[in-house]
Amino acid sequence: MRNTWVVLKREYLERVRTRTFLVLTLLAPAIMTALMILPAKLTTMGEKPNYIVIVASTQSFGELLRQQLLSELTVSDDDESEEAATKQKPEDQYTIVIDTTTTESERASLRDKIDTHTIDGFIWLTDDALAGHKVTWTGREVAGSREKAWLGDAVNHIVQRQELSKQGLNSSQADALLKPVKVESVRIDHGRETKNSGSSRFLEITVMVMLIYVAVLLYGISVMRSVLEEKTSRIMEVLLSSASPTELMTGKILGVGAVGLTQIVVWTVMGGVIALPSLAAQPNFGDLQLSPLMMVSFVLYFLLGYLLYSTMYATIGAITTTEQEGQQLQFLIVMPLVLSVFMLMPVIRTPDSATMVWLSMVPFFAPIVMYARIVIQTPPLWQIGLSLLLMVGTIAGLVVLCARIYRVGVLIYGKRANLPEIMKWLKYAKA
């Protein structure tokens, strides 16, 4: 125990004192934020059809579409366009011009204008096109799904309205008929209604699960590297003359784990300080709630997941002689992790199906799958308890097993051990 503590302390202090740790701890959140914000910024920065030409047979029909397009921008229930609408008036975002010349030569000249960046695109909405139920949007880029939906909805709306008015309905009757019904999702959590939209749940799960995944991988590899370093620097022999392999291995794993925990605590505090004002300002993110159960289970599953995987990483470090060899073998470890990330979507869809319940019990999947289940829909406590128990048991077993391999492996320098050899070590080594 004492030796484990001494090794743990060294491992922790030597890592935390380095400049790399400081830089990484402070910069990683900045990089992460940049990674999350940049793609969003890039899509909004993408070329929007800012200058649009509507080619229609009559001025009035073109005007109808223009009004409809602009009004859909304002009243749309879509979260993102709502956000955009508060920032900018639709009239400022888009200049929509109506063109009643419906000749082929006009089409050609509009195309040229797109090429010369005079306009961003045009919609071909002549009576012929309407009769053929085929309206074309021509733009510098093929319209993205949002634009396509926006244009399509508007065109359909006015066409349907026109049809309805032909059938004798006035415009307000037509609008009432065409008003879309909005489906709102309400989630029941412990008998309480929460207005969490599916997307915010998904965000929580992805962020937390990715944090578990990345951290387990990152610190696991770090453990493997440091075992390899001790082997190649030959300090292992000195250490083994003072402490047992189990003490050395657990001390190292716990020390690196403590470093990881420190980093996550720093990040959480930093993230909290940075994000709180903006979270409060955004009603949509206000729903994102972390219940105490979620927080506790995050820490538990992170720690147990880390212990489970880093024990295996330490063993890989012990049986290999170079980092390249270690990297070749580590896919064995990464596989269950990747598999559990693949299971995320099915879990979100059916968190309490029998398959998912049992998959979430498997210790290698539990950190991600069980954690995701807890976030989506709190499973019965016995299931959480059982999965934790299974994990602790597996870790204990792995530590004993891996310590045996470790004991022999760390003294083998020349070559990588093969499977039969490892089996032999397991049998004979007294840990």
Partner: protein, 320 residues
């Protein structure tokens, strides 16, 4: 644990264990790695106090033997007893180990490193710090204590490694080739420290293939070849067993006594002196009387066989 001053001052041989208890005893110890037999059937005993030499050509099984004594590896067969008890983990804190392959954390600072290793051997952080500083002073490392290991020269790293091995004042100190990589001046410092510790009652196991070192430092030796002990025991007794057949003579006058075939088997004139090999069964005293009657003698010395001669002889025989 006794709080012995570090570096330890000479003091009388410790009588903590009964006189009969050997510091280390190996009985029919065997260790194989796959097909390769590293140690075949080794029996040896190391008496408390003094320097014990573990000798042998490369690959003879020295390091494997040491690892088993240290408890780093477990023998496949046989018994290891230390301080009169079967080897167990609790004994580890009584061992100090300088491995042949030096290993230190390159990025760690010298003093931090020594304190860490001292703590692993059961010292408190404060005590380890105190002792490490004293040792660094003795080895002229004081100016380097806050430098990283990688900034040190090979020789300095070697000294740090040595300090790490003796910091916790172990009863048994195992040194695997301790002198390699040291310049002559530092080698002398290290030799003096080892002798001082031996006088203070420590048992030192010195593993090397350098005959001259063993000849000068060790009281007892074990010569290993192919995993077997081919020669074991008190160094002077071993030499005595090999007999004294060579005589070094410096003289003026009549050299005819060298031609006496019943006494001299052969001789070699080196100019300043002559080395003669006695005939089988001949008494060196007869040769002395004969020589003094013929010539004026400045020197007449019966020579011990060198360990190197014995080594080559024994290894040659056991390989044959």
């Amino acid at each position: 644990m006794s709080t012995l001053q570090s570096p330890p001052a000479p003091k009388p041989v410790s009588t903590q264990h009964s006189a009969s208890a050997h510091t280390v005893e190996l009985q029919n110890v065997r260790k194989c790695y796959d097909e390769f037999v590293a140690v075949a059937d080794l029996t040896l005993s190391i008496k408390p106090g003094g320097i014990y030499g573990l000798l042998g050509p490369n690959g003879a099984g020295k390091t494997s033997t040491i690892r088993m004594i240290m408890g780093i590896t477990v023998p496949d067969a046989g018994q290891i007893t230390v301080f009169g008890e079967p080897l167990n983990r609790a004994h580890m804190d009584q061992f100090g180990y300088l491995p042949e392959e030096r290993g230190l954390y390159k990025k760690m600072k010298v003093l931090d490193h020594l304190v860490f290793l001292g703590q692993l051997k059961g010292l408190s952080a404060a005590e380890a710090l105190k002792r490490a500083s004293a040792w660094c002073e003795k080895f002229e490392l004081s100016a380097w204590t806050s430098k990283k290991i990688e900034e040190l020269s090979k020789g300095m790293q070697q000294k740090v490694q040595f300090i790490a091995a003796v910091l916790h004042d172990p009863k048994l100190i195992i040194m695997d080739e301790p002198f390699t990589g040291l310049d002559p001046a530092n080698a002398v410092v290290l030799k003096d420290v080892l002798l001082e510790m031996a006088k203070a009652g420590k048992t030192i196991l010195l593993s090397t293939h350098r005959m001259d070192q063993v000849e000068r430092l060790c009281q007892s030796i074990c010569l290993i070849n192919h995993g077997h002990a081919v020669l074991e025991g008190d160094l002077s007794q071993i030499k005595a067993r090999y007999g004294r057949h060579n005589v070094q003579i410096k003289y003026d006058g009549d050299p005819s006594f060298l031609e006496e075939k019943s006494l001299v088997q052969s001789f070699n004139d080196y100019g300043n002196y002559v080395e003669a090999r006695l005939a089988p069964g001949a008494d060196s005293q007869d040769l002395l009387r004969l020589a003094s009657s013929k010539a004026r003698l400045h020197k007449f010395e019966v020579m011990e066989p060198s360990l190197e001669e014995i080594f080559i002889d024994v290894v040659g025989k056991s390989n044959a």
